[in-house]
């Protein structure tokens, strides 16, 4: 019977090419776009190497120093005394007048090191500087490399995939050893090849020779905490930056909470620390504020050009979800519409089938099956399209360093969603038709 439903479904689809084309186009195109969007989302926010623990991370990219300005407000109370004389009381209060002097920036190593080492609920943390570029010269060619100065814990927080060699350790950092972890791409650019034999070789970065200790796979996204070309021990950075006692500097911090739920605790501790921070008396600001956030919050804050991470998240994602819902609704309504008209168009067929012995269940199954076949074919086309586009985008670096991955899990999730709509849109009209009396339908 199932084989028969299948043959019939295919026959029906083949006999109505235009209808089939429209349906398939709707299904496959929607599915393709959804796959691309989720693949993009997964690339940006998913738990992929080297951010496998992204759901436990709290990012502290910068802090804000600010001074609030106050106006002195005089209040005068006039009181009539018993003897008819007037008495005046005046009070003076300071009220913020809404204007503020502020500036944002990354932090100094000493500020992070002195204040943020002992937060509770933190599994691991790292301080890193990502704002340097070093030129290396090779056969007259200049290779510019984004250089990250990190501590040894950086490699605990971020699980880079080491193709060859190992990360540098705490001893290297303490001793300020000139060692480097480089990406595969830089290995190819600089040495002409990436292989195990590159480990141990020297490269001249700026004026200093560094020994390569590890080669990592190029990360699939360009998050500012991981998108370096070369990673060096933090102690090898320009000494003035390492020892500066200013609050500002080129560093930021990433914390890995003991569990995703503890991220809020870390954020609260940072806020508390900032509120109670003792500003040096000679400073030209009065308060500091630290903007920490989860990966999505930081992304949104960055994109929306605001420092309020919570608000940025709402500002970015609510419109995004509304748009996505609208985008989904249109083809799905179209699908429902097509299904409804298709079932009603075949009213007499249903009646004939019933006259020759089909019961309501047979009719229902037949239409459900047709919908399933259609959805699966559409899904398959969508899958192939999405796969091709992802390959194309990746091969041509269309969105920078970001690599789109193809998630089978997500694909099946969307097939389920579309199936659900296909079923709902098919079942209701088919059910109604399967209930009509044959005589009425044949009249």
């Amino acid at each position: 019977m199932i084989k028969n439903y299948l043959t019939l479904a295919l026959k029906v689809l083949k006999r109505k090419p235009f209808y089939t084309f429209i349906s398939l186009f709707g299904i496959s195109f929607t599915l393709m776009i959804l796959m691309l969007i989720t693949s993009m989302g997964d690339a940006l926010f998913g738990a992929n190497q080297p951010m496998s623990d992204v759901d436990r991370m709290v990012f502290l990219p910068m802090l804000e120093r600010y001074t609030e300005f106050y106006d002195t407000v005089y209040t005068v109370d006039t009181i009539v005394m018993d003897d008819g004389s007037l008495r005046m009381d005046s009070t003076e209060t300071l009220e913020p007048n809404g204007s503020m002097n502020n500036s944002n920036g990354q932090m100094s190593f000493s500020f992070l090191d002195n204040n943020l080492r002992d937060l509770a609920d933190v599994d691991s943390y790292t301080f890193l500087s990502n704002s340097s570029f070093i030129d290396a010269y090779l056969d007259g060619r200049k290779v510019t490399m984004g250089t990250y100065y990190t501590d040894a814990r950086y490699w605990d927080v971020f699980d880079f995939n080491f193709l060859h060699g190992l990360p540098f350790g705490p001893d290297d950092v303490t001793a300020a050893n000139k060692v480097a972890v480089i990406t595969e791409r830089i290995a190819e650019n600089y040495f002409g090849a990436s292989g195990a034999d590159i480990v141990g070789r020297e490269m001249i970065l700026g004026n200093d020779p560094y020994r390569v200790v590890g080669i990592v796979e190029r990360p699939l996204k360009d998050d500012e905490t991981i998108a370096g070309d070369v990673f060096l021990p933090v102690t090898t950075i320009d000494n003035r930056q390492y020892t500066s006692t200013e609050i500002y500097g080129p560093f930021q911090a990433v914390f890995k909470a003991s569990s995703p739920g503890k991220r809020e605790s870390i954020k609260q501790q940072l806020t508390f620390l900032a509120e109670n921070y003792e500003v040096p008396p000679d400073a030209n600001y009065e308060h500091i504020r630290m903007y920490s956030g989860t990966a999505t919050e930081s992304f949104a804050a960055n994109l929306m050009q605001t420092t309020d991470t919570e608000r940025a998240k709402l500002m970015l994602f609510i419109p995004l979800f509304v748009l996505l819902a609208l985008f989904l609704a249109l083809p799905l309504i179209n699908l429902i519409n097509l299904n409804v008209s298709r079932v009603f168009e075949r009213k007499s067929e249903i009646a004939v089938r019933k006259a020759f012995g089909a019961d309501s269940r047979d009719i229902l199954y037949q239409f459900i099956f047709e919908n399933l076949v259609l959805t699966f074919i559409g899904g398959f086309i969508g899958l192939v399209l999405a796969y091709l586009i992802i390959q194309y985008v990746n091969a041509n670096d269309l969105i920078g360093i970001v690599r789109l991955a193809f998630s089978v899990k997500i694909f099946f999730y969307f097939i389920l969603v579309i199936l659900l709509f296909g079923l709902l849109s098919g079942i209701l009209p088919a059910y109604r038709m399967s209930r009509t009396t044959v005589a009425t339908a044949l009249r």
Binding site: N4, V352, G357, A358
Partner: protein, 248 residues
């Protein structure tokens, strides 16, 4: 005879289940006091009034009457595709008035074959697939279904058109396919609603010949609604209706 279950074997030469009319004294169709009314919000239309009719097995009965006299309603009630407002219907010795759902679907499948004035073939299916329909719902295996369908098509002289689609056929051919579909499941009763109504007289005669042959060779009980006096004369008995009542 019953064909049941996947791959069930049908007998090889089953086309003579009953001796020819009038040797079989068994009431194949029995209507007692059947009435049918259609109700809308404001008016009630009586389509059939207290109809009594009994059709012995093997009879070829025709029903005539002016348009709207209730002929088709009567046929639909006999075919269990419409329900009487009151009265009882017995088919093939079974009281079927209370049948519903799966039971009525199964009964229609095994005992009844329909032929409609406008053929009602499924255009998406080939001729042989159309003919197979009753066997499909009887869960007969693919090969057996195909064999029986080709046999039925042969019976109406259309085995060379098995792979065609209904839209490629003439009216007369379509009606012959419809007859093949009606007889493929070897039903005891065939109900034909103006089977020659959409055809010219030559093709109409051909269809009548097939039906007559079906009746005499196989003993199938046939009830035919018609407007054509000439066709009605070829049947065993004629019942005339007027305003939902029997007049002869």
């Amino acid at each position: 005879m019953e064909i049941r279950g996947k791959g069930a074997k049908a007998p090889r030469a089953p086309f003579t289940p009953y001796p020819p009319y009038p040797l079989y004294p068994f009431k194949m169709i029995e209507l007692q006091n059947v009435s049918k009314s259609y109700r809308t919000d404001t008016i009630e239309t009586l389509a059939l009034q207290h109809m009594n009719l009994s059709v012995p097995a093997g009879e070829f009965l025709s029903i005539m009457g002016p348009s709207g006299c209730g002929k088709s309603t009567l046929l639909n009630i006999m075919g269990l595709i419409d329900e009487p407002t009151e009265g009882s219907v017995s088919l093939a010795g079974k009281e079927v008035t209370s049948y519903n759902g799966t039971k009525v679907a199964r009964f229609r499948n095994e005992q009844l074959g329909f032929i409609f004035q406008s053929f009602h073939l499924i255009n998406d299916l080939s001729v042989v697939d159309n003919v197979e329909l009753p066997l499909l719902y009887r869960r007969v295996g693919t090969k057996e279904r195909r064999r029986l369908s080709l046999e039925a098509l042969e019976h109406v002289g259309l085995s060379n058109r098995a792979g065609h689609f209904p839209t490629q056929l003439s009216g007369g051919q379509k009606q012959r396919v419809a007859i093949a579909r009606a007889i493929v499941g070897r039903p005891n009763i065939i109900l034909a609603d103006e089977p020659t109504g959409n055809l010219d007289s030559h093709m109409g005669d051909e269809i009548m010949d097939i039906l007559t042959r079906l009746n005499t060779d196989l003993g199938t009980t046939i009830v035919m609604v018609t407007h054509d006096e000439r066709m009605a004369k070829k049947t065993h008995r004629l019942v005339r209706l007027s305003d939902g009542e029997r007049v002869s």
